[in-house]
């Protein structure tokens, strides 16, 4: 693991917005430039701090959506009652600045040497760090087999849809659309459950490495399901972001 990316004191730095890409009606990817940025590992996140004119701070964490070596980017879902995400998804313009610190995290990370096969399970905007892992895998020309099971409300709520539809060699992408399905949809159409995991997950005997990211209840269901299928808890990395967002 690249120790330089996780060691040392964190300092708040000024980030400048370089690009804005609407991924869905509620989700936007924000490209950032940060002078002196030392790089990151796939799966890490940033802490973002917004300061109001009266000095009030709001801090949030966002997974890094771009691969190590690519321009830094985060993907933000708008939460209607949120303090930070409506600003980031609606108000922000190229050239705007805000504070961030990072990269943060040494647990929910994947690097080339960690192997697999990889099983990636995303609920809603929990796809962001898993997309980072898939891009890292592709850029490193890593041939480890990977399966992504992505739970979204509908086709229109699938983040990075064009990229996921293009796909990558050696990566299977499987969706479950929990609320609305397009005409003729033959894929999964329910919340992720143990039966679905049993059908999609690599057998435990293959020594897979699983990454699960999404709302807390989603992650709990998936992690318990994988352990019941024989996955050692230490091979199931989890990241929960609370009750917010849809899956």
């Amino acid at each position: 693991m690249a120790g330089t990316a996780v060691r040392g004191r964190l300092t708040w730095r000024t980030a400048t917005v370089e690009s804005l890409v609407d991924e869905t009606a509620r989700v936007r990817t924000i490209g950032l430039s940060v002078p002196g940025w030392a790089g990151h590992l796939a799966g890490q996140h940033l802490d973002i701090r917004l300061t109001a004119e009266d000095g009030y701070h709001a801090e949030r964490e966002y997974s890094i959506a771009s691969a190590p070596g690519e321009p830094l980017a985060i993907t933000v879902e708008r939460l209607d009652d949120g303090e930070v995400s409506p600003y980031l998804t609606e108000e922000l313009r190229p050239g705007d600045q805000f504070e961030l610190r990072g990269p943060v995290g040494g647990y929910f990370v994947w690097d080339d040497a960690d192997g697999g096969p990889l099983l990636l399970l995303a609920g809603g905007s929990g796809i962001a760090p898993l997309r980072c892992i898939l891009r890292r895998r592709a850029l490193a020309a890593n041939s480890v087999a990977a399966r992504l099971l992505y739970s979204a409300r509908s086709r229109d709520d699938v983040i990075y849809r064009a990229e996921l539809d293009r796909g990558w060699d050696g990566v299977e992408v499987i969706y479950t659309l929990t609320r609305r399905q397009p005409p003729g949809w033959t894929g999964y159409a329910r919340h992720l459950d143990r039966q679905m995991l049993a059908e999609v997950a690599w057998p435990a005997a293959d020594a897979p490495l699983a990454y699960v990211c999404g709302p807390t209840s989603f992650v709990e269901t998936v992690a318990a399901g994988l352990v019941s299928l024989g996955y050692p808890p230490g091979r199931v990395k989890t990241e929960r972001f609370g009750a917010t967002g849809g899956q």
């Binding site: 996780v6 060691r7 004191r9 964190l10 996140h45 802490d47 964490e61 610190r101 990072g102 943060v104 995290g105 040494g106 647990y107 929910f108 709302p215 807390t216 209840s217 992650v219 709990e220 990395k237 989890t238 990241e239 929960r240 972001f241 609370g242 009750a243």
Partner: protein
């Protein structure tokens, strides 16, 4: 862990600020029930006041962080070990 909880990944930045090192991959041992887990897997609640970290096995409060005027107060009495 109920839906109001996140997990220890979310406080990686706070922990790095307090301990000066990456801590989400460290192992915490509960002083009440003795179970051990990686910090990233612990239950984290964030009321306005601060941050509360609980054991996933017995719900014991392991760590509390409260920031007052840019000084972070830390209570680790619920932890038997952190390494």
């Amino acid at each position: 862990m109920d839906d109001s909880a996140v997990d220890g990944n979310a406080i990686g930045g706070l922990l790095m600020e307090v301990f000066g090192a990456e801590m989400t991959a460290a192992t915490g041992t509960c002083a009440a029930c003795g179970s051990s887990a990686q910090v990233a897997e612990l239950a984290v609640y964030r009321p306005r006041l601060g941050t509360v970290v609980r054991c996933r096995t017995c719900d014991n409060v392991l760590m509390v962080f409260v920031a007052i005027h840019d000084v972070t107060c830390v209570d680790l009495r619920g932890l038997a070990r952190l390494d």
